[in-house]
Each structure stands twice: as C-alpha cells, then as structure tokens.
C-alpha cells in the first residue's frame, strides 16, 4: 500500500528564504526505492529542498508529502548527512560515539549502560565497513572514512529515506566512486529511497534513476537522459548550454562556468 505511494510528492511547491523566492512551481514525485541526484548551480536552492523535506523550512506555497506525511523535524524514517567540509581535526570524539548520537542523541539525560544503542551503532558501522577505524577520533580520519561514518550514523535507525547534502564534495575521484557504489549497494539491500546533492553527475550516472535540476528559480525532474541534454539545460538556465559526451559516456556541461562562479540566490 505504502509502496505504491510516492516517497516524496510535491505539488506547486515554492521555497523562499528571508522573503526572497528561491524556486517555485515545483511539481514532482519520487518513487520509493529510487536513487535521485539533485543538481544545479551553487545558491540555486538544492539544500533548501533537502531542508524542506526534513521539516526544517516550511514551504512558502504548495504542498509537500514525505513518506505519506507532512514534513516534520526528527522523523525517524529519514536518515540525513548534512553539508559540511570535513570534521575539525581537533574534534576529539570517536566515530563510534558520533554514530551513537544518531541512535539516541535526541533523547534527554545520559545513556544508561547496557542499552541496545551500542549494538545498533555497531551493526550500522559494520554495514558500511568502518569497524577498523570507528574507535579513532573522527577528526583525524580521511574524507572517505568520515563519509562512511556519516553514512553509518544516517542509517542507524533503519530509515526509509536517505538525504545527503554533497557527500562527495570532499572526496577524490576514486573515493567518490567507492562511496557511490556503497550507497547504491545499501540502497538495494535496505530498499532505501535516496536523494543526493552533487556537483558532478558523472560518478552517479551508473546508479541514479532520476535527476532533479534546481536552477534559476525552477525545479525540473526527469531521467538523466531527459534532463542532461543541451536543449533541456539551455531551457532551465535560459542561456545556451552544451552537453558533451566522451567515449566512456561521461557528460560535460559547457558554458556554465559563469553560472557556477556567480551563484544565484
């Protein structure tokens, strides 16, 4: 019953921030168990969409349904990885303690010993393959290792929906494809719906079902083949943009440097 309903459904949705419209007239629905990349220039409102799904920002217009409910903060069915550069190297807290906070960090008081929290955290750390460094200070780990622990934290309550704000931005190319592969595997194993904000669509192309493009106050959704074309991106940006493909199927968007370096509110 729930499976046939979309995981996320937006009708004539609009977002505004500090009185300024970020984007409007957004209509889309995301089916359960799908993998969607959110793309677009900086400042276009990609994170705004994620914050709205999390219930941190109310829609300025229209309707939004998340897992059959109106968005609300602290929804245990949603796992989240916020946008961040990396952890402060001086942050003296173990990866395991960080994952533990995903289990019961929102509860008052102190954790009583012998509770199930430690077991849930350990299982989640195992599922992302982070056991060997989970007891080291998280600030001292590599970007890829930190990203795995962030994933362990997001998955700890067995969520249905996984939201990630630029999880690949601090990783090198090899680590990007390793983490995307891991996300893809976890998605299949746990039947997760995944939304991921990215700058570069290429490491994601083998895995994603849909693309949501957020730019110029508009929000367009479709398959990568539909959206990442010269015609469609030129329409979204209302300026001539060319999409090139190399021999290995990687796509390159040409003519957008201006847009990226001068972000639009």
């Amino acid at each position: 019953m729930i499976k046939t309903e979309p995981a996320i459904k937006a009708r004539d949705l609009a977002a505004s921030y500090g009185g300024h419209a970020v984007w409007r007239h957004a209509d889309f629905s995301i089916e359960p168990g799908s993998f969607t990349a959110i793309l677009g220039p900086n400042g276009g409102g990609k994170s705004t969409l994620i914050r709205m799904i999390l219930g941190l920002l109310p829609p300025s217009h229209g309707q939004l349904q998340v897992l059959g409910e109106r968005p609300h903060r602290g929804n245990p069915l949603i796992g989240y990885i916020p946008q961040r550069s990396t952890f402060d190297p001086e942050l003296s807290i173990r990866g395991r303690d960080f994952v533990n906070l995903g289990v019961d960090g929102h509860r008052w008081g102190v954790r009583l010993p012998g509770r199930a929290a430690a077991g849930a955290a350990a299982a989640s750390i195992r599922s992302v393959g982070a056991e060997s460094y989970a007891d080291r200070p998280i600030g001292r780990l590599s970007g890829g290792e930190q990203q795995r622990l962030l994933l362990a934290q997001a998955l700890v309550g067995n969520p249905q929906l996984l939201l990630m704000d630029e999880p690949l931005s601090q990783l090198d190319v090899r680590n990007q494809s390793v983490i995307v592969q891991l996300i893809g595997d976890l998605k299949r194993a746990r039947e997760l719906t995944v939304l991921l904000i990215a700058h570069d669509v290429n490491p994601l192309l083998p895995h994603i079902d849909h693309v949501v493009y957020v730019a110029h106050g508009n929000l367009a959704m479709g398959t990568p083949e539909e959206i990442i074309t010269s015609e469609s991106l030129s329409r979204i940006y209302s300026t001539p943009v060319e999409v090139l493909k190399d021999s290995r199927g990687r796509v390159f968007v040409v003519g957008l440097e201006e847009e990226v370096s001068h972000p639009h509110g």
């Binding site: 602290g74 916020p82 003296s92 960080f98 906070l101 019961d104 929102h106 509860r107």
Partner: protein, 301 residues
Amino acid sequence: MGEIFATITNTSPQLSWNVFEDIAALFHYEFMVHAFEAGTTVAVAAGAIGYFVVLRSSSFAAHALSHIGFAGATGAVVLGLNPIFGLLAFTLGSGIAIGGLGNRLRGRDVTIGIVLAWTLGLGVLFISLYTGYATEAYALLFGEILGISSADVVVTIVAGVVTVVALLAIYRPLLFASVDEDLAAAKGVPVTPLSIAFMAILAVAVTEAVQVVGVLLIFALIVTPAAIAVRFTSRPSIAILTGIVLALLFTWLGLAIAYYSPHPVSFFITSLAFFTYVGVRISEPLRSRVGRRFAIAQAAG
C-alpha cells in the same frame, strides 16, 4: 576572617617530615575547610562544563561572561548586596543573550571584546564608588578562596549541584548539537533553546569559579583541564571525568601549596594548570612516535 588570613600569610606554617600531619594541618583552620569545600565543588562543576566549552569552541564566551559578571559583582557591592548575586545576575543575563544569538555571534570576537572591555570599565567605576574598594576588587579579579564565608560555601555547593544536574539532564542532545548542529536540528533537537540553556549553566559555573580563581583567571579551571583531557581521550564521558579529576588536582594541590607558602592560591592553581598543559603538549610528539613504533613493530611481527 581577613585578619586571620593576614596573620597566616605573614608567617606561613612550616612543613614537617610527617606527611599525614602536614595534610591534617591543612584542615586545622575553618577557613581552609571552607576553601576545600568550595574549591572541590567548583572544580567538579568547572571540569564538567569545561568539556563542552572546549567542544563548542566557546572559551572566549566563557571569558566574556566572567568579565561582564565583574560589573554585576561590583555593582552589587555598591548597592550593599552580596557580590555573588550581582555576578550571577550579569553572567546569566549575558549568557542567555549570547546563547540566543548563537550562530549569529560566530566570528564576532571583536563585538564581544568591545562589550567586555566596557563592562570591565563599568566595574572599575562601581568599585571606585565603594569605599574600601581595593580588597574587594582584588578578590573579584584574582579570587579570594581563603576568605570565603560559610554562607558563600552553601551558595557555591547549591550552584555546583545545579550545574552538574542540569548538565546531566541535557547531556546527550547537548553533545549532539555540539558535534553537528545541523544534524541535531534535523533529528529534532531544539538547538537554540539548548544553546541558551548551555550558556545559562556556564554562567552559573563561571560565577562559582570566580570565587576561587577570580574573573581574570577563569580559564585555568574551566578551559585548561578539559583542553588537557581531550588530548588524552576521544570518549566524551571519559574526557569529562578526566577534566573533573584534573580540576580537582589543580585546586587541591594549589590550596595545599599555598597554605605552606606566602604566595596566593590563584597563582598555584593557574601554574599547575599551565605547566600540566605545556607538559602534555610537549610530550605529545614523543608519545605518538612511541605509538607509531609500536604499531610498526606489531605489523612487522
């Protein structure tokens, strides 16, 4: 009380070869018993909240609270009130304001610095309005734990219990919000009220600590023990306990040394804290080299 203190500091007690007798002598006078009671309470509260001050990088805010509190304390003296209540009122008020502004205050060191300089100036004015100001100002700025009254000991113990109980009550969400505020907010943690609550608890802890080390030396008890603790362990609960133990050691040893010397307690507490921190930092490359050699040996064997 002040006269007893004066006679004792003029002719410091002599150390004997009997350690037990020397320790027993520390508790011979009532003023030393009071000092140990208040010092112990303050060390526990300061050591505990210090972990979060270090984790949230809010040591400057702690410093600012104590300076703003100085104006409150001296103002209370002018009005003929107990300075501790003026101190508490001002640190609480400014703590709640700083906590409410939250992220908007990040990187506003200059603004905070300007406000705290002005409040110190205000404190100087209040002090000058009060006759016999010198000792009072000295006590507030540098601490006067040897002159603490039994009424102040009671106030300190109550404030200490409030600090620790409040910290325990908000421990998990505060830790969550301190490590990753965005994530904590998404998980339903009320981050802004929590930040206000934290600063209010910090205000109470600062008010207590001012009695031991004074407004200007607050760092030694609130920041240094926790800063040392996080270099030894990355487990939050152990880091907090280590911070408390270090704050207790600095306070107890400082009191004991000061009893047998003509110099002020604050000097010994801050020096113990300082040299422990320096020692830990210096020994760090050494320890990590030994650790690495051990790891290589293990991998090879």
